[in-house]
Amino acid sequence: MADVIKNNRTLNMTLSFEDGDTRAISVDNPDTSLNLGTHVDSLGAFCREKNIFLGDKGGADCTGIREAYIKNDKVTYLDLS
């Protein structure tokens, strides 16, 4: 049996709030055609304009998504037979 390689891709984003608080959110399997600059920015603007999230310290308004990155973990399961 050969080695098995699995890719675990995760999109990690940081929401920012008016009181300076931040919150990390993530989703699995981000699309390979995702353009972080436009897609994430657009989602952040939606969150801000529609007041989707509140800060958990005092209910501060969400100001958008401050940063985003895609983590790509390549896990190799070695065949030791």
Binding site: V27, K50, I52
Partner: protein, 201 residues
């Protein structure tokens, strides 16, 4: 403060179901916007969107007010005349948990000979009880308020509001006994309170 969460369901390319939950969602956010957020988040992945569920909850140990939604409550008889049928609409105020029974004073009731006027003595509540399968539940009725409002399409409406403090969010049945001084009659009304879980799509 009341808390709202959403759960976003999706399936990956292998058919595996996943759930992503978010807390501290704005309780005042529009349901349609929350549904859109769920769709857009899933659209950024290779998963297939399954739906978004909204859950409203409250910390009853520390909060005396909560945000609930009730469905229409039908009471088929509230006085001795069987032909009197009233529809009671239970309303949800933003910062208040209230149970309101509306009375339409433009109709003629056996308990009052008045037509289109207010009661001299508003009906009052003598007893508020509850029952629940959850034995840890305690419910305290905190305030009763008599409201009068003039509706442009429904005439004068009067109602009382009961503010309930619940120690736990479990389904329970609340029974209120309302008495009318004019006719010395009392009737009991039941209402079952439950959680609201709203499926947005």
């Amino acid at each position: 403060m009341p808390k709202t969460s959403i759960i976003i369901n999706s399936q990956d390319t292998l058919g595996k179901s996943t759930q992503r939950s978010f807390t501290d969602v704005n309780p005042k956010a529009q349901n349609s916007d929350l549904a859109t957020f769920g769709q857009r988040l899933t659209a950024m992945t290779s998963n297939v969107h399954g739906g978004t569920i909204r859950i409203d909850k409250t910390d009853c140990d520390n909060e005396t007010k909560s945000n609930r939604t009730f469905t229409k409550f039908m009471v088929t008889k509230w006085n001795e005349s069987a032909s009197q049928v009233n529809v009671y609409q239970l309303e949800n105020n933003e910062n208040e948990l209230t149970v309101k029974l509306a009375t339409d004073t433009s109709k003629s009731y056996s308990l009052s000979a008045r037509m289109g006027t207010t009661f001299d003595t508003p009906p009052y509540i003598t007893d508020l009880s509850f029952s629940s399968a959850d034995t840890d539940l305690s419910v305290t009725a905190s305030t009763y308020t008599w409201h009068t409002a003039e509706y442009s399409n429904a005439g004068l409406r009067e109602c009382w509001a009961v503010n309930l403090v619940m120690s736990r969010i479990v389904p329970c049945t609340v029974t209120a006994t309302i008495c009318f001084d004019e006719t010395d009659t009392c009737n009991a009304y039941e209402r079952t309170l439950t959680w609201t879980v709203t499926e947005l799509e």
